[in-house]
Symmetry: C2
Subunit: 415 residues, 2 copies
Amino acid sequence: MGITEIPGGVTKAKGFKASSAAAGIKYKERTDMAMIFSEAPCTAAGTFTSNMVKAAPVIWDRDIVYGGHPVQAVVVNSGIANAGCGEEGMLICEKTADAVSEALGIEKEAVLIGSTGVIGQDIDIEKIKGGVKLLVPALKDTLEAGTEASKAIMTTDTVNKECAVSFELPAKDGSGNVTVFLGGMSKGSGMIHPNMCTMLGYITTDAAIDKALLQKALSDVVPDTFNMISVDGDTSTNDTLLVMANGLSGNQCILEEDGSYQLFKEALFYVCRNLAVKMAADGEGATKLIEVYVKNADTKENARTLARSVVSSSLVKAMVFGKDANCGRILCALGYAGPVFDPAVIQIDLTGENGTVNFYSAGRVQAFDEELALKLLSEDKIHIDVDMAEGTEEATAWGCDLTFDYVTINADYRS
Amino acid sequence: MGITEIPGGVTKAKGFKASSAAAGIKYKERTDMAMIFSEAPCTAAGTFTSNMVKAAPVIWDRDIVYGGHPVQAVVVNSGIANAGCGEEGMLICEKTADAVSEALGIEKEAVLIGSTGVIGQDIDIEKIKGGVKLLVPALKDTLEAGTEASKAIMTTDTVNKECAVSFELPAKDGSGNVTVFLGGMSKGSGMIHPNMCTMLGYITTDAAIDKALLQKALSDVVPDTFNMISVDGDTSTNDTLLVMANGLSGNQCILEEDGSYQLFKEALFYVCRNLAVKMAADGEGATKLIEVYVKNADTKENARTLARSVVSSSLVKAMVFGKDANCGRILCALGYAGPVFDPAVIQIDLTGENGTVNFYSAGRVQAFDEELALKLLSEDKIHIDVDMAEGTEEATAWGCDLTFDYVTINADYRS
């Protein structure tokens, strides 16, 4: 009874359809709106940006999800973030929901909204309305429709990001097991940092699960997945991660923290980590994925803090880009992370397909094989292994290198 | 009775001499060692890196300064940091102090040591000894000697950094006032962040002042000067700021927090801020100085946190490099800084020699004159003014833009 990764994204689970459209909101000659629709009303859970400045769609979604209203559709635009737009921003959400509600024949409160792009520019509601008119008749339950939706929400992303899994849960009619699907899509490339990144993430499942447990599973999974990736240390105004569960798989509804809940949570963790790592690898301008694994820390939170500090360090990121085995920078980033530790006992290794190089141990930087280090730093994924030698807790953080292209992309993002 | 900026650095105050030498520790064809010597023993104060991993010279200096031993000389090398080198690192300090002690005929405990450069490489003590032999006979009290010393401690710095001031204090013999000098030099360009940067800073004064008050003045001044600059968010293993006071000006020794103390502290603040801003402006690869002034915050600490968050944001830094008036990023960086505030009341302006542009007010990003914004973003110094409209506290932070050259410098720092 394990979890199997399968092709697909938001349309893999039963009863979910998706579509995309070119509404010309900001981008030309590409799709910039996506819709997800569920045939049946969904239980929803979400986590939202911790930024004091919240985009209008974040406030809209939060009120609906935390208010407990069942949801049935999500509509997303890329290009403009609808953040920092005052009252006007909320009005745009209201009108967007109206248009979707009318076109789909569902309640306005069943419509979730997502926006990503430039902060402070106004969205032209007529373009949104035009987009909705294209999206509704185009809704399809094919995997391709899900893929096209994941492409429409991209901004500086270079690849679309999808993941889906299947697993078995007891059927509600007692007739053995049913297959449950859980799949998702996300976007996010710049302005990415722990505590919900400028990321939009949408996960759909045909599992039946109690709303409070769905939220608990999501909240438990985020600290070790989406909150462990960093591209540039900036936490966006628009971060949103939503899960919609429509129950159409026919499983016995998950009502307590039993084995079914654990398996569901494991599936959710799998998809969230998969999407999170894809976002880190596709960081703006990135050429490499950096994975920092901290083990034997005294507390879970310290393990997370230390791993994130290394993966967020500009100097470590630039060093990886330059394939320069300057391990003092890793040591330095651990040192300023916050947690108290003894530099005399920790160990730092660089590992990869070509072998392992011990950078630091026995209280000092070690002489190492420069040629092997260069080989390891030339791999697509850079794995840094840190042993704190003080406890049993562990955490992994993901990030990417700092490149010329990151600067290029962000020196002129608005145009 | 004000403070006057005058030419000079560490040799401006009476009784201080400096020298520099090319010891070939790592760099070729340039000076890489500097010495400061005081004819009279000095009261010393210092602040040191908060990094858990501390370079050997940091431990050496901290023990002497906090132990209360009077000091008379500082010897500094650039190129290798003597950090992450275990027991060997402390041994290097011991032997360095021995060499200086012997050559100058002073106690070993009167010798402070500074190192800056690559972490984890061993320093060749023979080269240090050779350098000391050159430094001692070259000691001079000229301004030029101070300038040459400030050049010898540079690493990726593109300009040397010096500042000196004079002010008047009551003479100890009651015969009116004497002129007191306070001057300093610092280096630091990369690995720079609040909480003491990879900076070395040395300040000399001929004021007579109680040791505890000297430390208090320094500790009070650092949070609003050196700790308010950021280049890349990395706090180094080697940060050291030292003040040496030899009392040779003939002023009545400052023994309490009276007017003389306040004036002394003001002079110290002036020099520290001047050196800090010079370091921010010379950030690795920087083309512009960014100054963020946060006013009307509810607490001093929140004002500092908000200002530092904006100046540290990679997206704000890249936007300044690209002269792209994407003010949503400033709003975003305030929002994730931590302090709770109401986005509906704050105001963000960009100001400069060419005028002022209101980016954000009345709860939303404002339409602004793009041409004027481009003019302002083309000035050498970018001033961002943030009004929190909730209290009376203020703070200023300094940083620099994120450029291609930053990446180039840090992609291959060791070579």
